[in-house]
Amino acid sequence: MTEDDLQAWVDDALPAGRRGEIDDYLAAHPEEAERVRAYQAQKQALKAMFAPVLDEPVPQRLQTLAKPPVAVDPQKRPILARWSLQRIAAGLLIAMVSGVAGWLGHAQYQSADRVAQMMPLPRQAAVAHVVFSPDVRRPVEVSADQEDQLVAWLSKRLGTPVRPPKLAALGYELIGGRLLPGNSGPVAQFMYHDASGQRLTLYVTTENTTNRDTGFRFAQEGPVNVFYWIDGKFGYALSAGIDKGELARVATAVYDQLEHK
């Protein structure tokens, strides 16, 4: 009597005639009998547990996929029907973000030993900008209508008071903000938009340890223009896909407000 025989007994997979032999064996070995009956019960329980899935309506996206894709049957099926719009949109977004991120990252990954290097401030800010600013539904974690909570939360997490500058006079309104991981700890991102929907992000880090203030610096990271400066332990970077002159105007306003806080 082998274990395989007993398993086959559970699954009723024994050759004709053999089953009787096993029955006799089990009659003489009650412990074994109890064990294989437990397996039988287990099998039935598993079937019962997942049986309801068989009765669930098959989601449309899966039904659609039961039909041949375009390449197999070009006449019948427009590509949009097979690939739901959501999937296409998601794909495009991923392509866009990875395209930009790849472009931004290519210099960083030229040699393996540089991978571990910390990302410089303007690049961090630009990546955060391209990741979050295209998001229509959830561009921020806490929106501007809860500005007090946003300020309290980010200040607490960064361990120092941070406050979004007011840029309404320049035509930019606060959308809200979020917390992000920086090189070694939390950083904050505030997002603004103008009447046309153009988005602008201010990235605030408290990770600066070199204690060397800088004036305005400009960096172009792919399609994103970035003005950044370091002030004490703070690093600021203002990113947007707008032209350098306009961005400089906003950056000056931000700088002035932060200086006179």
């Binding site: 398993q7 064990r35 099998k43 547990m49 309801p52 669930e56 098959v58 894709p69």
Partner: protein
């Protein structure tokens, strides 16, 4: 490969994927990937051979690929995930949860064999074929999986059927 035949297999693929992954959205994503790959490779399917076993082998290979890929599993959260339809009846709910929980404790390779045999009633040779392993391996995984599941179910103290929070 026939549309109607493929459509008819979807409920079974979904059931197996759900039992394997324990998560509706992830399971349906796996089924979707399986169907896409099936069409991409339909030329490789030998007419007359068992479509079901072939689909399960595609699903298995996709899963192996996924598990090999490093990184954090990510799945989207949509409204579907919020309803949790396990079973209509309430009184055997704890029992069902216990079994489901115990099933999650099995190593992937044992759960896979166990479910193909228990849910799909595949013959051992078909399981071996779908998973690309010898029949002997199927048998030993089946025996170990069943025994482990039995012990897990017996171990729970009676009366304390609460599911362990993962």
């Amino acid at each position: 490969m026939d549309n109607a035949a493929l459509l008819a297999e979807i409920p079974r693929l979904r059931r197996y994927a759900r039992a394997m992954l324990g998560n509706r959205a992830a399971a349906d994503d796996l089924v979707q990937d399986t169907l896409e790959r099936a069409w991409a490779r339909h030329a490789l399917w030998r007419a007359g051979s068992d479509l079901r076993a072939w689909l399960f082998s595609i699903m298995h290979n996709l899963r192996v690929d996924q598990l090999r890929r490093p990184g954090v599993p990510i799945h989207s959260i949509d409204e579907d995930d919020l309803e949790v339809p396990t079973r209509a009846t309430q009184n055997d709910r704890l029992e069902v949860r216990d079994l489901e929980f115990a099933l999650r404790q099995l190593p992937d390779e044992q759960r896979e064999v166990l479910l193909l045999v228990a849910l799909e009633d595949l013959a051992y040779a078909e399981v071996a074929d779908a998973l690309g392993i010898p029949v002997g391996t199927v048998m030993s995984r089946l025996a170990r999986g069943r025994e482990r599941l039995r012990l897990l179910m017996e171990d729970r103290p009676s009366g304390a059927n609460l599911r362990v929070v993962r």
